[in-house]
Symmetry: C2
Subunit: 412 residues, 2 copies
């Protein structure tokens, strides 16, 4: 029954990688899996692979873009500050009891672009508030979780407007399979080798104990201070429940938590940013004492400014990540309009919430400890790309000494 445009063999491998490498699902562990209903061919394969891996109970929660749009177009005003608390509360309970969490993404990135922006942001805010208890199990890395992609038809047509839908979906599928390293039959081995390389990078960076990173390149003169006791992470990492998993399929980044008050200088985006259906392009920002004090964009400036005013933390950084220019997604030259892929195509920084797991003793730190160490907090976490083939980066130690980290977009 699956879509002829999508190769079943690579879809089988993607499901296998998702369960064994992405989640590393444990014997008897339950799985909660969200996905668009359109992604059922992948949902079915993930479900079967999860049960083969010994899952207790797999519960898919399927969404549909037309149902989402029906609300924005037909519902009364009172609907837009509501969220399914009963469902999210249940999910929080299940995560608390040890269930693993998988998300399959694949909707049209511009799905709500033409809807009433005020309704979209109110609904989004109500959703984030209701989902917070469940999300904390993920942002605090208490459980093994993983995100992967389904080549959604509307998404493919958005990326390849000149191709017919079937051809567009095939092209997106192949790009997803390649980026997810399932193009050949030893996918799991590919991932073991990939994780090993990323582990070497993070080990080196953690040994260096850099105090800051100094970026230079076209329109780029930026110093990003790192949080006190920060820890670099990349590829497979251990959740608090002891399970080593890959939260992102694909992933090319090594990342850590910057110090919210210690970023200085000017930076220019090297890729457009797709945010809740709006394309923001040509971003240029100036940071002082960790905050964006000046910002402009050739496209989507109003949406960007509204985003930066979400709360106090929105103008400060919550993540700094290194991705070599030669990595697969970057080399594909494709803009996916989807953070899971676009952030893994270039060095990036993120406005907003930091990852508390990116501290040497992150597991035992309270929210206050994280803040004291420089970890930023915010309702948002929005990654934007600042690296490219001309980017040079130096690590700066506490004593002021410098060590080359990137030269011309590649590891030094």
């Amino acid at each position: 029954m699956s879509n002829p445009a999508i190769d079943d063999v690579q879809l089988d491998r993607l499901a296998d990688v998702a369960v064994r490498v992405g989640l590393n699902l444990q014997e008897g562990q339950d799985l909660i899996l969200t996905a668009p209903a359109e992604a059922l061919p992948l949902v079915r394969r993930v479900t079967a692979a999860a049960y083969r891996a010994g899952a207790g109970l797999v519960t898919p929660l399927l969404s549909d873009p037309e149902v989402t749009l029906a609300r924005y177009r037909e519902a009364g005003d009172h609907s837009f500050d509501r969220a399914p608390d009963w469902l999210y509360g249940g999910m929080a309970e299940a995560f608390g009891n040890g269930a693993a969490r998988m998300a399959i993404v694949g909707d049209d990135p511009m799905l709500t672009a033409d809807e009433d922006p005020e309704r979209v942001s109110r609904a989004g805010k109500a959703n984030s508030i209701a989902y917070k208890p469940a999300l904390s199990h993920i942002s605090n890395f208490k459980i093994n979780w993983s995100i992967l992609a389904w080549p959604g038809r509307a998404w493919a047509m958005r990326m390849f407007p000149d191709l017919d839908p079937d051809a567009a979906q095939t092209k997106l599928a192949e790009a997803i399979f390649a980026a997810s390293r399932v193009s050949d039959e030893n996918a799991v081995a590919n991932w073991q080798a990939h994780n090993a390389r990323l582990a070497e990078r993070t080990a080196w960076l953690n040994d260096q104990r850099f105090d800051a990173l100094q970026y230079s390149g076209p329109g780029l003169d930026l110093t990003v201070g790192l949080a006190d006791g920060h820890e670099w992470m990349g590829g497979a990492s251990r959740a608090q429940n002891g399970v080593v998993c890959n939260p992102n399929i694909p992933t090319e980044e090594v990342f850590t938590t910057p110090h919210a008050a210690r970023t200085e200088g000017r930076v220019r985006a090297t890729k457009p940013l797709s945010h809740q259906g709006t394309l923001i392009d040509g971003i240029e920002a100036t940071f002082r004492e960790g905050r964006i004090v000046e910002v402009s964009a050739t496209k989507g400036q109003a949406v960007l400014e509204k985003l930066l005013d979400t709360d106090d933390g929105a103008r400060r950084l919550g993540e700094v990540a290194l991705v070599p220019h030669g990595s697969p997604i970057s080399q594909s030259g494709l803009l996916f309009y989807n953070t899971l892929f676009d952030e893994n195509a270039a060095c990036h920084i993120a406005q907003g919430q930091c990852y508390s797991k990116c501290f040497l003793d992150g597991d035992s730190m309270s929210e206050e400890d994280v803040a004291k160490a420089g970890g930023n907090s915010s309702m948002i976490h929005v990654d934007w790309m600042i690296g490219g083939p001309e980017t040079d980066i130096d690590g700066v130690r506490a004593d002021g000494s410098k060590v080359p980290v990137f030269r011309k977009g590649e590891w030094a």
Copy 2:
């Protein structure tokens, strides 16, 4: 995007009837809607109609038969005594806060016929136990709820094995639209008239205060005692939250609660019974003091006996229902292998759990009160058809006087 085999105009009407007549959804009321993902064309229309009717939040929970089968085929033994408590607990909470409940049915009735029956029954039992708190809001009629059907492709192929799938699905769709009274454009008015006729029947029966019903016909010599203080219901009825709704789309029956200990005589099924993927045919049973003491079937006897041994209440009656032979589903001559339709094609009785709402002051009766009045309780509620064109039924009053109720399968 909807299936060419299914008429969009009648699908629009079905969604409208489902929300306005089935649920009678109230302004600001939330809706939880379960359906097979295949039924998305109807789910989308119901969601839009619900929001137009003022719904607060509509949350569809979509299922998929392949996901169900993957569990039976791939999961370890430990999986089969599990159920998603976190999800059903959330649903119970939402119903407790006043959400309405809709179910769209449409899966292959023989979906699990070839799976390990022991795994199927264990999973079913675990599910019923976990779902009980949520179900109590429905069986005690606390909230407005409604069930309707989507012409599922596998279901259609099961009913019309000689047609190609598209033709089979079109034929099932037309049968569902006709039975649901949406074949012409004044569907809501059709239902108002239909509900009025059913209300007349129930009023007459409730005025009669019959003590028992006496059935006669081919292989049929049965007396069914009625519960003390029973109330006949049919068509639209008022839930405890005050909302008048139609729990079944379609519906042709007027029904009440029999006395669990006062059924005597012999009865023969007039239609096959499809139960959890097994077809049980040629049922003949003998009742004494309310209990089936002898039973045989030309097909599926083992499954029938296992069903009757589920618990003490399984051999006793929980429902008695009157459906004239001339009603639409009966006249269609089709066997739907689905209770929602087959029970509305003929007079029927149900083994197992009674409806506590079918008592004059059902709203205020405890489970003990219901039992004392003769209301049966059981984990199962399985309807089987006993009426036909030759069926005569007399109402027997406490003083022994008799009143004709049915002659030759029609209202007397």
